[in-house]
C-alpha cells in the first residue's frame, strides 16, 4: 500500500514547476492577459516543448500513457503559476475521446493533441444546469442552438460539445454556421465563451445509449483537474501570505509574529492539506477505481472549491491593503480560484450530484 506520489511524479511536478516559475511569471501572465499574442506564443511553445499535452493519451496514440493523477499534478502547477493555458480542456477532450470516440476518431485526434497541434474547447455547461435559452439540438448530423460557458471558445481549433440528451459531438472550430464569442470574465487567465450553432455540421462521438456516461466522465475529469488547479493556486496564496507577513512590519514587529495573523495562516494550511489527499484519490480513482470517479470528483470539486474560497479571501486579508490592489497581482490567484469554483457545477451542484450518485435523492 502506498498512498502518495511516486519519485517520477515528484520529478514531473518539480520540472513543470521549475519551467513555469520563469516562463509564467507574473509579468508574462499580465502581458498575456492584456492580449499580447507573442507572449502567449512563447509560453505555449515552451509548454509544448515539455511534451505534456499527451500525458493521459495511450502510447499507441502517440501520448505518454500516464494517469489522470499525473495530469492533475501538471494542472496543479498551472494553477500555482496562474498560467493561461488550455491544458485542462485538452485533457477533458482526451477523456471524452477515450470514453466514446470511434477508433478512427481516436486515431485522428489523439495524436494531434499529443503533439500539441490542436486546442479543444469543451461545451458541457448545460449538463450541470442549463441557463434559459441555452442547449443544443442535433438533427441529421447538424447542431442548432446555443452553448454557454464553453472553454477556450475564442481560441479552440475543435470543440467537443454535449447536446441536450448528453450526447457528445465533435465540431470543427471554423465550421459554417458556428459563431463564437468570448465572454469577459473575472479571470483573464482563462478563456470562456459562447457558441451559437445554426445548423452546424457535427460528428457524433458515440452511440446514443452510452451518451450521458461519456459526458459525465469528461465532467469528472474536468472537476478533478479544476480541484488540482485550485489546490495549486491556493497553496501559492498561502505561501505568498506567509512570506508577506514575515516582511511587513507594524508596531515594530513583523505582522507574522502576531497570533491573529499566525492563526489565519495556520487555518489556511490546515484546511488545504487534506484537500491534497482528497484530490489525489479522486484522480487515482479515474484509472484505478472507475466506479468511484464521479462521486470522488464531485467531492473533490466541491470541497476544494470551499477551501479555495476561504484561502483566497484570507490570504488577501493577510496582505492588508496592498493585497486589494493590482500591485502584487494577488487578485490573479483570487480570480482563478473564483472561476474554478463556478465552472462545471457550483459546489452545491456537485454535492447534489454526490448525493444522487449515492442514491440519496
Amino acid at each position: 500500500m502506498e498512498f502518495g506520489l511516486s519519485e517520477e511524479q515528484r520529478l514531473l511536478q518539480a520540472s513543470v514547476s521549475g519551467f513555469l516559475e520563469k516562463a509564467s511569471e507574473l509579468d508574462v501572465v499580465r502581458k498575456i492577459a492584456e492580449g499580447d499574442q507573442s507572449a502567449r506564443d512563447v509560453l505555449q511553445e515552451g509548454i509544448d516543448s515539455l511534451g505534456l499535452a499527451g500525458v493521459m493519451i495511450p502510447e499507441d496514440f502517440g501520448g505518454l500513457g500516464m494517469t489522470l493523477l499525473d495530469a492533475a499534478l501538471v494542472e496543479e502547477m498551472l494553477g500555482r503559476y496562474v498560467t493561461p493555458q488550455g491544458f485542462l480542456s485538452n485533457q477533458m477532450a482526451v477523456a471524452g475521446l477515450l470514453a466514446s470516440g470511434t477508433q478512427e476518431q481516436k486515431e485522428t485526434w489523439l495524436p494531434k493533441i499529443a503533439e500539441g497541434s490542436v486546442q479543444f474547447g469543451i461545451g458541457i455547461a448545460e449538463q450541470t444546469g442549463a441557463r434559459e435559452g441555452a442547449g443544443l439540438d442535433e438533427k441529421d448530423g447538424k447542431l442548432t442552438g446555443r452553448a454557454l460557458f464553453v472553454t477556450e471558445a475564442d481560441k479552440a481549433s475543435q470543440f467537443i460539445v454535449a447536446d441536450r440528451s448528453g450526447r457528445l459531438h465533435l465540431v470543427i472550430g471554423d465550421a459554417g454556421g458556428l459563431s463564437r464569442k468570448k465572454l469577459s470574465t473575472i479571470d483573464v487567465t482563462r478563456s470562456v465563451g459562447e457558441l451559437v450553432f445554426d445548423s452546424v455540421a457535427a460528428e457524433a462521438l458515440l452511440t446514443e445509449n452510452v451518451a450521458g456516461a461519456a459526458a459525465q466522465k469528461m465532467l469528472a475529469v474536468g472537476r478533478v483537474l479544476q480541484a488540482a488547479d485550485t489546490l495549486g493556486a491556493a497553496q501559492r496564496m498561502i505561501e505568498k501570505a506567509v512570506a508577506y507577513s514575515l516582511e511587513r512590519k507594524q508596531f515594530n514587529r513583523v505582522i507574522g509574529s502576531f497570533q491573529a495573523v499566525k492563526h489565519m495562516c495556520a487555518e489556511m494550511a490546515a484546511e488545504l492539506e487534506p484537500c491534497r489527499s482528497l484530490m489525489w484519490f479522486a484522480a487515482h480513482a479515474y484509472d484505478a477505481e472507475p466506479d468511484q470517479v464521479a462521486l470522488m470528483a464531485a467531492h473533490a470539486k466541491s470541497h476544494v472549491a470551499e477551501v479555495g474560497k476561504f484561502v483566497a479571501r484570507t490570504a488577501t486579508e493577510v496582505h492588508g491593503g496592498i493585497g486589494f490592489t493590482d500591485v502584487l497581482g494577488l487578485h490573479f490567484w483570487f480570480k482563478r480560484i473564483g472561476l474554478n469554483r463556478q465552472m462545471f457545477g457550483s459546489p452545491e451542484t456537485a454535492r447534489q450530484d454526490a448525493a444522487r450518485l449515492q442514491g440519496w435523492v
Binding site: M1, E2, F3, G4, L5, S6, T67, L69, I238, V242, S245, L246, R253, V254, G256, S257, F258, Q259, K262, H263, C265, A266, E267, A269, A270, E271, E273, P274, C275, R276, S277, L278, W280, F281, H284, A288, M296, H299, S302, H303, E306, E348, R351, Q352, A354, A355, W360, V361
Partner: protein, 390 residues
C-alpha cells in the same frame, strides 16, 4: 499510488478476520475488559509491538498491520484492547526513557490492566503554559515531599498510580526545573475531588497533594529532565486525538439516522438542506481519511510528514465535533433530550459527544495552541515575542 495490499498483508487481514470469527463470543459488550485484553495480547492484537520481556506480544512495528487490525475490529464492532493513559502514554514513555528496572516493574501489570494510571500534568494556573507548573517537590532524606495541586486528572478515582510532573529545581529556567515522578494514589496526603463537567459526568478530578512522600528513586529520567520526558508522551496524545476512522463511523451512523428518522412525515434524507450539509461533512471525512492514508505511507517509509502531521489534532477534533453538532441539528427538538429521556435517540450519544468533544478540542493542547504549532513548526512563522507584563 497503489492502494492494494500485498499477498502477505491480505493473508494477515484474513488472519484477523478469522480471529474475530473465532473469538467474537468472548468479546465484552461495550468497554474492553481485562480478560479480553489478555486474549488480545496473546494473539498480538493489543500491546502488539511491546517486547515479550515486558508482557507484550513482541511483533516488529508494522504500521499497515496495525491499521488492518484497527479496521477489522471497527468493521466488526468489536472493542479493541484496554485503552487508558497508562497504556497509551505512560508505557511508550517508559519504553523510550525508563530504566530497565522500571520497564520490568511497571509495563506488564499496566498492559494487563492490573495497574491503572492517571496523568498529573495540568494545574489550575498551568494549562496551555504547562511548563509553568508550580506543584513542588523538595528532597528530604530519601524522599521527595510533594505539595500542590493538579487538575483535569481523568480516572484519578480509579487509578492505582500517577505519573506526575513536579517542580524540583525552582531556580532553573521553567523547562529545566521539572521532574517526572511515579507514585501510588494511596500515598498519604493525596486527596481526589471529582470535577463535574458540562456533560453531567465527573470525567475529571482535582488532585491535592499535602506533604506527599515519594522515594527519590521513583523518577523517570534525571531530575530536571521531566519536561523532555513528558513531551515524549504529549506527542503521542496529539496523534491519538484525531482518529479519522472514528469520524467515518460517526458519519455512517448519521447516514443511517437520516435514512430512518422522519420529521413531518418526511425522511431527514429527503430534506435538501440537511442533505447538502451531510455531503459537505462527507467530503471532509473523506479528505481526512485519505490524509490518514498519506500519513501512514510516510510512517511506513520512515519519513517525517511535517505540516501534514501537525494539522491532525486540530482538524480531526473539529470534524468529530461538527459531526456530533450536525446530528443534533437534524434531530431538531429531539436533540435537547438527555439523561435517558423518552424519545431519546442513540442513547444520547450525540448530545454527550457534542459536549465531550469540545473538551477534546480544548484538552491535549487547545485548538489555539495547535494553530501556534502549525504556524511555527509547519509554516516557519516566529513565536509571539515575550509579553508585556500586566
Amino acid at each position: 499510488m497503489d492502494l492494494s495490499l500485498t499477498p502477505e498483508y491480505e493473508a494477515f487481514r484474513q488472519e484477523v478476520v478469522r480471529f474475530i470469527e473465532d473469538y467474537r463470543d468472548q468479546a465484552p459488550r461495550g468497554y474492553p475488559s481485562k480478560a479480553w485484553q489478555k486474549i488480545l495480547i496473546e494473539h498480538g492484537y493489543a500491546a502488539r509491538t511491546i517486547p515479550r520481556d515486558y508482557g507484550g506480544y513482541g511483533a516488529e512495528p508494522d504500521v499497515l498491520k496495525s491499521r488492518i487490525i484497527a479496521e477489522e475490529f471497527t468493521k466488526a464492532g468489536l472493542p479493541g484492547g484496554l485503552s487508558n493513559q497508562g497504556i497509551s502514554m505512560f508505557v511508550p514513555t517508559l519504553l523510550e526513557l525508563g530504566s530497565e528496572e522500571q520497564k520490568k516493574q511497571w509495563i506488564e501489570p499496566t498492559l494487563k490492566g492490573d495497574i491503572v494510571w492517571c496523568q498529573g500534568y495540568s494545574e489550575p494556573n498551568s494549562g496551555s503554559d504547562l511548563a509553568s507548573l508550580q506543584t513542588k517537590a523538595v528532597v528530604d532524606g530519601d524522599d521527595f515531599v510533594i505539595n500542590g495541586q493538579k487538575i483535569w486528572t481523568s480516572t484519578a478515582y480509579e487509578a492505582d498510580m500517577m505519573f506526575c510532573l513536579v517542580r524540583t529545581e525552582p531556580d532553573a529556567p521553567k523547562h529545566k526545573g521539572i521532574s517526572y515522578l511515579l507514585f501510588s494514589m494511596d500515598t498519604p496526603g493525596i486527596e481526589v475531588r471529582p470535577l463535574k463537567t458540562m456533560t453531567g459526568a465527573a470525567s475529571f478530578n482535582e488532585v491535592f497533594f499535602t506533604d506527599v512522600r515519594v522515594p527519590t528513586t521513583q523518577i523517570v529520567g534525571q531530575r530536571g529532565e521531566g519536561w523532555f520526558v513528558a513531551n515524549a508522551t504529549l506527542k503521542y496524545e496529539r496523534g491519538m486525538l484525531g482518529d479519522p476512522n472514528q469520524a467515518g463511523t460517526r458519519l455512517n451512523a448519521i447516514i443511517k439516522m437520516m435514512k430512518e428518522e422522519t420529521m413531518g412525515g418526511e425522511k431527514l434524507m429527503d430534506n435538501p438542506l440537511y442533505r447538502d450539509r451531510l455531503v459537505k461533512l462527507q467530503s471532509r471525512v473523506l479528505a481526512m481519511q485519505y490524509h490518514g492514508l498519506r500519513l501512514v505511507t510516510h510512517q511506513i517509509k520512515g519519513e517525517d510528514p511535517g505540516l501534514a502531521r501537525l494539522i491532525v489534532k486540530l482538524m480531526g477534533c473539529e470534524l468529530n465535533h461538527d459531526l456530533a453538532g450536525f446530528a443534533i441539528d437534524i434531530l431538531g427538538e429531539l436533540g435537547v433530550l438527555y439523561h435517558g429521556s423518552s424519545y431519546l435517540r442513540d442513547n444520547g450519544m450525540w448530545q454527550h459527544r457534542y459536549m465531550f468533544d469540545l473538551g477534546l478540542i480544548i484538552g491535549g493542547g487547545t485548538a489555539q495552541i495547535q494553530k501556534n504549532i502549525i504556524s511555527e513548526r509547519g509554516l516557519g512563522m516566529p513565536r509571539e515575542p515575550k509579553p508585556a507584563t500586566v
